[in-house]
């Protein structure tokens, strides 16, 4: 090396070995993996199709109804309705539906995987100490780095985009599930145990309900992070609003990028409001400080 740093490791050989090894994996298991993730792809495409098949006003009513159930407040409900209407107004409805589908499926899978991992971490200090650094790496590693192996395995398309999104978005739900359960009052856990509750009964009757506000905050963050991945994921074929932004960059069209960007902002506000107001209501029922 030019600066005289001693070559203690043979990095080139390491790189070749890693690249070759991974290529072997792709050749050997690529098809199997693709087959495994076929149902996920079908679910994603199905949801996208369904959202597009539905008349726009049904989607609008659905989101508005969701906002009302979650918040029971007129202000938030009206804001959600207006923003959904706005998405159609600025002409990115179709792309927004694709983005919503990707975001929802990614969030759903992230929660499905993240909840059990978080619960496991809360029950075992060893699992916590080994998992936390992994989560740190997942959150600090530049996102583009994930794209490489996923694209190699599946080729550009919706599946690698979905998986990269999940990897990027899953840490908050894991962290906050773990934290929420660990913060439940010890005496309440002891009370449940003292009445002969089994570990599972303690988990479902006391720990999860009391950790719910934290878990919901985690799910909310995960949703937001999944949404923030859409632009990057569009580089490997996720489509949707992100692809519009990408096209805006490639063609140097300010308007295209701006409108799609606005659409993303609208979506973020809609889902954040719904999730947050629901979290607040759960918090209230737990504390009942009225």
């Amino acid at each position: 090396m030019s600066n005289g740093f001693p070559e203690l490791l043979d990095i080139r050989a390491f790189s070749i070995a890693l690249d070759d090894g991974f290529t072997q994996i792709v050749i050997k298991y690529g098809e199997t993996l693709e087959w495994i993730f076929l149902p996920v792809l079908k679910m994603l495409l199905g949801m996208e199709k369904a959202l597009l098949w539905l008349p726009w006003w049904v989607v609008l009513l659905g989101l508005t109804g969701l906002a009302w159930t979650a918040s029971r407040r007129w202000g938030i409900t009206l804001a959600v309705a207006a923003l959904t209407f706005g998405i159609g107004l600025i002409g990115v409805w179709e792309q927004a539906m694709a983005t919503i589908a990707l975001m929802l499926v990614a969030t759903m899978l992230a929660v499905l995987i993240g909840l059990p991992v978080g619960i496991g971490m809360s029950r075992s200090n060893r699992m916590q100490t080994t998992t936390l650094p992994v989560l740190d790496i997942m959150q600090t590693m530049p996102i583009f780095v994930y794209l490489i192996p996923f694209v190699m395995l599946f080729g550009p398309g919706k599946i690698p985009a979905l998986l990269a999104t999940i990897v990027f978005a899953i840490p908050p739900v894991i962290r906050l599930t773990n934290l929420g359960i660990r913060q439940v009052d010890r005496e309440i856990i002891e009370a449940a145990q003292s009445f002969g509750a089994s570990p599972l009964q303690v988990l479902f009757s006391a720990q999860i309900p009391l950790a719910l506000p934290a878990i919901l905050a985690g799910i909310n963050q995960t949703t937001m992070m999944a949404l923030s991945m859409v632009v990057i994921a569009s580089m490997i074929g996720a489509g949707g609003l992100g692809y519009q932004v990408l096209q805006g960059i490639q063609r140097l069209e300010i308007s295209k990028g701006l409108l799609a960007g606005l659409g993303i902002v609208f979506l973020a506000i809609i889902f954040d409001r719904i999730a947050q107001s629901y979290g607040r209501r759960v918090h209230k029922t737990l504390k009942l400080e009225d």
């Binding site: 009052d185 005496e187 309440i188 002891e190 009370a191 449940a192 145990q193 003292s194 009445f195 002969g196 509750a197 089994s198 009964q201 009757s205 006391a206 309900p209 009391l210 029922t285 737990l286 504390k287 009942l288 400080e289 009225d290």
Partner: protein, 391 residues
Amino acid sequence: MADNSSNQIRIKVENVSKIFGPDPKAAMAAVEGGMGKAELLESSNHVLGLHAINLDIRQGETFVIMGLSGSGKSTLIRHFNRLIEPTAGRILVDGEDVLKLGKSALREFRRKKISMVFQRFALLPHKTVLENVIYGLLIDGMAKPKARERGMEQIELVGLGGFEQHYPGQLSGGMQQRVGLARALATDAEILLMDEAFSALDPLIRHDMQMQLREIQARLHKTIVFITHDLDEALLLGNHIAILKDGMLRQVGTGAGILIAPADEYVARFVRDVNRARIVTCGALAEPKPIYDSPQAASGDSGWVIISDGHGGHGLMRAGSKHDSNTSGIEAAITIDASANVEEAFGALSRRDRPLMVMSEGRISGLLGWQTVLRALERSNEAEHKPPLSN
């Protein structure tokens, strides 16, 4: 507070020790080798929580474990239902070693036999009062309608009727602890553990709760283990009291017994400011005396003696007095019940110079003179100069 000392032993704690730290077994060996608490902490960073505790808790009594914070009392009570595992020793409940129970047997034991009330109530905030009360029943697999019925009875018992659909957060501290008590009573467990159950309540409410507990106990005759740092509470509720300091038992006995004869300096300082006259019973101070058939028979004795008139009546006489007639010198005995406290004897003692005859369930248990009373109420002077209690 009936004395239940004749009843069978319900919980037997044998030589229980608890050490907190990375390697309790090794530390235990060191402690058995004679190492003290401070030394152990210094040398190996282990905390000696409890050391060689022995207790017998009898059926139907309220057994109070008393100590200041850090004395290990909350650790000790958690051993009874194995929320904490001891490092050494045995705990027998109805003769069965609790420590040998497997996981499911332990759950069964907790569901049926033992229940607990917590200092900060430990209610589930997302469940209603009724749902909290029937928590233990549902855990045990009881059908909901039956559990609700049972739960409503308990809610009525603790005086919370009408509040069953409220959430804990909507209730005051005293009401929340009533829910905690109802929840513990609902499973019909015979043993009730109460961990500083009333300490978080303000004084008036605390007194109400103490009275309510006594009332409930008079009806249900549970075996209650009650933890407190409050001596007045201990004396009010406890049939027996164990005093714990730094993880070691200092004294076990009845409230009066501890007040009259504190085992050591620490206990003496602890009980110094208590109004003994209201706690100590006449029965505890009565001096047993032989009962003589005639004044002549008592001539060898000294002081006041009891003379039977042969028809079931009794009189008092100063032994060795100069009277040799059969009846003169014998005075009518004033009786007082053994369960009366000393304060109630003050009036009778002050009016005559002769002692009172203390009766326990129709039998004479002895004489009580004013000298004895004064001696019992005296506070040792040495204690006055000691620094205040430290933990």
